[in-house]
Amino acid sequence: MGLVLGIETACDDTAAAVVDADFKVRSSVVWGQKQTHEAFNGVVPELAARRHAEVIMKVVKQALDEARVSLSDISAIACNNQHGLIRSVVVGVSTARGLAVSQALPLIPVHHVEAHIFSAIMTNPDLFNEHICLAVAGGHNALIHVHGMGDYEVIGRTLDDSAGEAFDKVGSYLGLPFPAGAQVDALARKGNARAYAFPRPKLKDGTLNFSFSGLKTPVRMVAEKLQSQDGAPDVAASFERAVVDVLVAKTLAAAEQRGVARVSVAGGVACNTLLREELPREAAKRGITVTLTPPKLCTDNAAMVAGLAQYKLREGAQSTLDLDATPNAPLGMRAANYRPNQAG
């Protein structure tokens, strides 16, 4: 199998990438929509879809150009059709199908969250074996027991907001432009994480589930009382510490409960500095190894989509032109009832 061209349009990033049979990323282009959604402090689905449609072909061309190939050098097309905002997802699906039909290429559909899981596997092939994956971003927040490729068991999930969503909202309380995750992280580096004792939701409830909605309120109350921006770093640091404490504790509890000594972290929040420091440190104390997905593969990207499709093709996946956008599709057979951000 040669090169796979991947396309990803789950939310507000338009992405295309070329990945080879050894999972080497030959190109990865991500076109963000920060300016489009900044005024709304969140992603507006219809506007996101419009922007995707405007730029998707340019992004595809750039990905091919940066990989120094043409479409005739591509062996298969892959796209996420199983998670995200439906209006955005259909843009990626229709583009991928059009490219596949134009050159009679195989078309491989993939699940966005599975692609995030695979982004860690692309980093460390040991993860083809059993491990626990903390998949944490703006649109999903789950602990997944990866029994093997394609065999996933969701053992923890958020009951309301994802951690990424909480980062963005707290950023807005502190006057930071959307999306604020990276900026809250930067601000937190200058602050005192012990300045405020924010709650650690569900830390000791005995489950592997998360809840970040309730954390936002006390942070907002503190942020509203700030006399100046001078206090913002302390709020950011204290909030970040609370989130990371919960993520780390639940992830390690999952590994210990399941008797699994390998953990991976994927998704946009996996870029967070404190999480990248704390999780390996605490895991090492328990003899657990942690694979941190490189930041470029953490946020939404198409390299993970193309990489996963490479694996699926190797395992005999069949091409299908009969695909629809099913943005709330379950992840894997064991989790047939799982919807990434659905409570219960």
């Binding site: 419009r50 998707i56 259909v90 229709s94 059009g98 490219l99 039909v101 134009s102």
Partner: protein
């Protein structure tokens, strides 16, 4: 010369393909929303004409106004098809097509489902009055429309227009309200 015309702005996606002097029409099957309808109308057109995408000279499509999702799918699907096959792709708004028909004195059925006579061109942007018709009946009402689109494709091709798939855009009704496209 072979030209494919696609209109996904209404109740169903309809397509026509013209090869030499022959024109073949196709309509998509009604699926969830218009997604499958867009794909199937294009696939069926190519299949009936025995044409591969790379054998097309041009694709011309209605870029809207119309159903947001179906129109967007049509635009991105055609852009990708054209890019991959190395074919020129031309977009035209529903207003442009309606005006051409009106100027030619051709009565046609607009997307509101009413017959528009000469001098009364007012192409609509909703599909409610077609809610009860089946795909074949709908296609019958769109033949003149598709024929004009094919003619437009021929003209743009002959004029040497670039038809760059990277520049294909959806047309939104708001753009007309604000005068951006009038």
């Amino acid at each position: 010369m072979t030209v494919l015309a696609l209109d996904a702005c209404g109740r169903f996606s309809v397509a026509a393909i013209q090869r030499g002097g022959e024109t073949l029409y196709a309509t998509g099957t009604a699926g969830r929303g218009a997604v499958r309808s867009v794909y199937s109308s294009v696939d069926l057109s190519l299949e009936r004409a025995g044409v591969k995408p790379a054998e097309l000279n041009a694709i011309v499509l209605n870029t809207g106004p119309g159903s947001w999702t179906a129109t967007r799918i049509a635009v991105t699907y055609c852009a990708a098809l054209a890019f991959g096959a190395g074919v020129r792709v031309f977009g035209a708004s529903g207003f442009d097509i309606g005006r051409r028909l009106d100027a030619a004195g051709v009565a046609f059925i607009d997307q509101l489902g009413k017959t528009v006579a000469e001098g009364d061109a007012a192409p609509g942007f909703t599909v409610n009055l077609f809610a009860d018709v089946d795909a074949e009946t709908y296609l019958e009402t769109r033949r003149a429309w598709l024929g004009e689109m094919l003619k437009l494709g021929h003209e743009k091709f002959a004029a040497g227009e670039v038809g760059d798939p990277l520049e294909l855009r959806t047309t939104y009704f708001q753009e007309f309200l604000t005068g951006a496209k009038r």
